[in-house]
């Protein structure tokens, strides 16, 4: 009798648990589908720009990088100067891990003529947050297999988390609502990826000692940077690696930038090091803060870089003729 009661208890428990799991699964799939539709329907915001880069962009020239790409490279200016259509595919706070994933999705569709990769002082520093931020790629995980390798870098159980249809849209509910709630006039005005900063750097110029407290380097990021360059070489894309200006008094040399320059040099890729170039650093009014140019500064900078690209007797960094 006791055994029968026990068996009934187990059966009832398992049945209830099963029903609960089914309810969760049904709600998860339904809400996930709604979020997916709403996510890809966004007309503005950084997610909409990423979707545009991943799915639609056809520009001849693309810019990749963090906020130092988004705020410093103005595609309108670059288009005027070079005669090449341009889109800024950078994303605030992202590292080379994200840029490489987005580049791969674009290369699946077409090969741009020119790619500009913007570098940061902490580009290759070990930082767990850079891996967390790869969650921006989650909505593309199912539709774009090219991003999967990078998403898996987030952690060993990312695949399990992705069994949920809602998880890719974690913390995106409000941005999705915002991205969908625009009027007719604003519709289809996604922009070219550039965001201008209107403020002016108030100062003072601080000293950064690169020789002290050096952060550990991340070999995964360095290898991804290498892969980025190799991918461009294989496709015959003219790649330029650029380090936009900082307004600081540097002590010593930044390790990430040294490595970026060395690798670029070894691979025959032009590297424009403007990190502490006096052309910009002597004019404080061109900066919004110590690492970003303002509207005026970014226009001058974009013009300057475009001129360098246009006048560059482009060394053959594609490697095609050598191979």
């Amino acid at each position: 009798m006791e055994k029968i009661l026990e068996a009934n208890t187990y059966r009832s428990f398992i049945l209830k648990l099963f029903v609960f799991i089914v309810i969760v699964a049904v709600v998860d799939i339904s809400v996930g589908k709604l979020l997916e539709k709403a996510y890809f329907n966004q007309q503005q915001g950084e997610d909409a720009l990423t979707t545009y880069a991943v799915k639609e962009v056809q520009s001849q020239m693309l810019v990749f990088g963090s906020s130092r790409a988004v705020n410093n490279f103005d595609p309108a200016v670059m288009e005027n100067e070079t005669g090449l259509s341009c889109f800024n595919a950078g994303r605030i706070g992202q590292s080379v891990l994200y840029h490489y994933a987005v580049l791969k999705t674009i290369l699946k569709r077409y090969s741009p003529e020119v790619v500009v990769l913007s570098m940061d002082a902490g580009e290759f520093a070990k930082d767990a947050e850079d891996y967390d931020k790869l969650s921006s790629l989650l909505p593309y995980y199912n539709s774009h297999p090219e991003v999967r390798d990078m998403v898996h870098l987030k952690g060993p159980i990312e695949k399990i988390k992705l069994l949920s249809s809602i998880y890719p849209y974690n913390s995106l509910l409000l941005p999705i609502i915002k991205g969908n709630s625009i009027n007719e006039q604003e519709k289809n005005a996604k922009g070219n990826g550039y965001i201008s900063l209107q403020r002016t750097f108030p100062g003072p110029v601080e000293t950064i000692d690169y020789t002290a407290n050096r952060r550990q380097l991340d070999s995964v990021k360095i290898n991804t940077y290498l892969s980025f360059i190799k991918e461009c070489r294989q496709r015959g894309i003219k790649l330029y690696v650029v380090c936009p200006p900082y307004i600081v008094n540097p002590v010593g040399k930044n390790l990430s930038l040294q490595i970026a320059e060395k690798i670029a040099g070894d691979m025959g890729v032009p590297y424009f090091d403007l990190a502490y170039d006096e052309k910009f650093t002597s004019r404080k009014h061109l900066f919004a803060d110590f690492r970003h140019l303002n509207l005026q500064g970014s226009k001058e900078f974009s013009k300057f870089i475009s001129a360098r690209i246009s006048s560059d007797e482009v060394p053959d960094n594609t490697g095609i003729h050598n191979e």
Binding site: E6, T9, F13, V19, I23, V24, V27, D28, N170, L174
Partner: protein, 476 residues
């Protein structure tokens, strides 16, 4: 192994499944092995420290019971010295050494002893206190000494409460390891629901608020006073949700297997005085200090001035228990002062409230008291959150400069944070005041309850923060 990790999900499923699959007489072995694995997932070698204290206290318990008079006391003192000695060595050595160095420095002497470069064994303060409560209770004759070494080891090491409590008492927990516990579906669901609520508090509330708090406190020099004030309020909710989440998951996972662990939090944010707050916050530690320190010092049966001194002693030690840093000592001291002031000025305060006639409006009266208590407790937590005393004073100075705007973070981030707090408080107020609205989780219908808990899962997936990491109280 963190409670909010997938590693723990697999561990929990395997341990619970195994627990109900084996005969109840052998279950202690299974739980002990699982608890060892759980502890060793952090720093494996530290299990030796745990084994050392377990052996000492196991034999101390038996010898205390067998002995009488001075010998009995000697065994108790030996056990306490061993436990406190280990705690002092691992947790406080560097603190004392730094202070000695600073003092010697005043007289231009150099401290010849260097600091230790060792990691603090996880949950050391918790399981040391739990072990001490055993020998003290045996000494007092409230608990028989446990003869079964495995069961005693399990009492100290029981994985749900091993690293962050609740700090159990032997009378409540030891006998449960001998009971024949049958599988009970409704109890399992009740445990799982408690775990789910804990997970919600950790992932949706605590870790979300932690983003703003960390930014504000880590870069306090760049923040406005208003932003720091908001971060301090947020931290109050964060630390509550973080710690009570751990307790909920601990109690829930124990309940699934049929164990009843003591309640550690009783909606402290709805306390109407700081004295009431300390009856609702970290109850297992507060009662530990009350039973083993405050009462032996004389408790409430001593003249008032002595009672104030006793209260201050208890709170200063409680602060020091939390961490080897003056910030925690000051935090404890401030809370002790709140209680002393509450006693000192009770008559005046009562007269004041009578004068205001606010008692005629009970809701408003309660709201004012709750708000004042919450703000006082939040203020003291500036020291709890700050890395150094200097940082705490810098934060306070900035807050009282009443400068700057609040919203330094993105609007989206702030909206999520306010939503999380609002949801939490709605549930807490419903439970506290038995509000009729918002009671889906209490409905009898299985479907309504299931849908409510499914929505909780969906909320965790939708707005949870998955990169929050550690529980705050792990460091203690």
């Amino acid at each position: 192994m963190l409670f909010n990790s997938f590693h723990f999900v697999f561990f929990f499923l395997i341990v619970t499944g195994g627990y109900f699959s084996i005969p109840y007489t052998k279950r202690w072995m299974w739980l002990l092995a699982a608890s060892c694995y759980f502890y060793m997932a952090f720093v494996p070698v530290y299990i030796l420290i745990l084994a050392f204290t377990i052996i000492i206290d196991y034999f101390a318990g038996i010898y205390i019971e067998r002995s009488a008079g001075k010998r009995r006391k000697l065994f108790l003192v030996s056990s306490l010295v061993a436990n406190i000695g280990i705690l002092c060595f691992f947790k406080y050595f560097n603190f004392f050494n730094d202070n000695i160095s600073a003092m010697l420095g005043i007289f231009e002497f150099q401290n010849p002893v260097g600091n230790l470069s060792i990691l603090l064994p996880i949950g050391l303060s918790f399981h040391t206190f739990q072990a001490m409560s055993y020998t003290i209770e045996v000494y007092r004759g409230n608990q028989q000494a446990e003869r079964h070494f495995g069961i005693y080891a399990l009492y100290v090491m029981f994985y749900p409460q091993l690293v962050a409590g609740p700090i159990e008492r032997p009378q409540n927990l030891l006998h449960q390891f001998r009971q024949k516990i049958d599988f009970d579906g409704s109890r399992v669901f009740s445990g799982l629901k408690l775990m789910l609520w804990g997970l919600f508090k950790k992932i949706v509330v605590a870790d979300r608020l932690g983003i703003f708090v960390d930014n504000a406190y880590n870069y306090h020099a760049q923040q406005s006073g208003a932003a720091l004030a908001l971060a301090t309020i947020f931290f109050s909710f964060q630390v509550y949700c973080d710690f009570s989440a751990y307790s909920d998951i601990a109690r829930g996972s124990a309940r699934v297997m049929g164990f009843d662990l003591m309640k550690n939090f009783n909606r402290p944010n709805l306390s109407r005085s700081t004295a009431e707050f300390w009856k609702r916050w970290h109850i297992s530690l507060s009662t530990w200090f009350k039973d083993y320190l405050y009462f032996p010092l004389g408790g409430n049966r001593v003249p008032m001035p002595r009672r104030y001194v006793n209260l201050m002693i208890v709170f200063l030690i409680s602060g020091f228990w939390h961490g080897a840093n003056w910030t925690f000592v000051i935090w404890g001291g401030i809370n002790g002062l709140f209680l002393v002031m509450g006693l000192l000025f009770k008559k005046q305060a009562d007269a004041f409230w009578k004068f205001t006639r606010l008692q005629k409006f009970p809701i408003l009266y309660a709201a004012i008291h709750i708000s004042i208590t919450f703000l006082l407790i939040s203020f003291s937590r500036i020291f709890f959150r700050s890395q150094t005393v200097e940082q705490a004073f810098a934060v306070i100075k900035k807050i009282f400069s009443f400068s700057g705007s609040i919203f330094k973070e993105s609007a989206v981030m702030m909206l999520y944070s306010f939503f999380a707090i609002a949801f939490l408080m709605l549930v807490e107020m419903r439970n506290e005041y038995k509000l009729p609205a918002f009671t889906f989780s209490l409905r009898r219908s299985f479907w309504v309850r299931s849908t409510w808990y499914a929505l909780l899962v969906i909320l965790i997936l939708l707005v949870g923060v998955y990169d929050g990491g550690q529980f705050i109280y792990f460091q203690f």
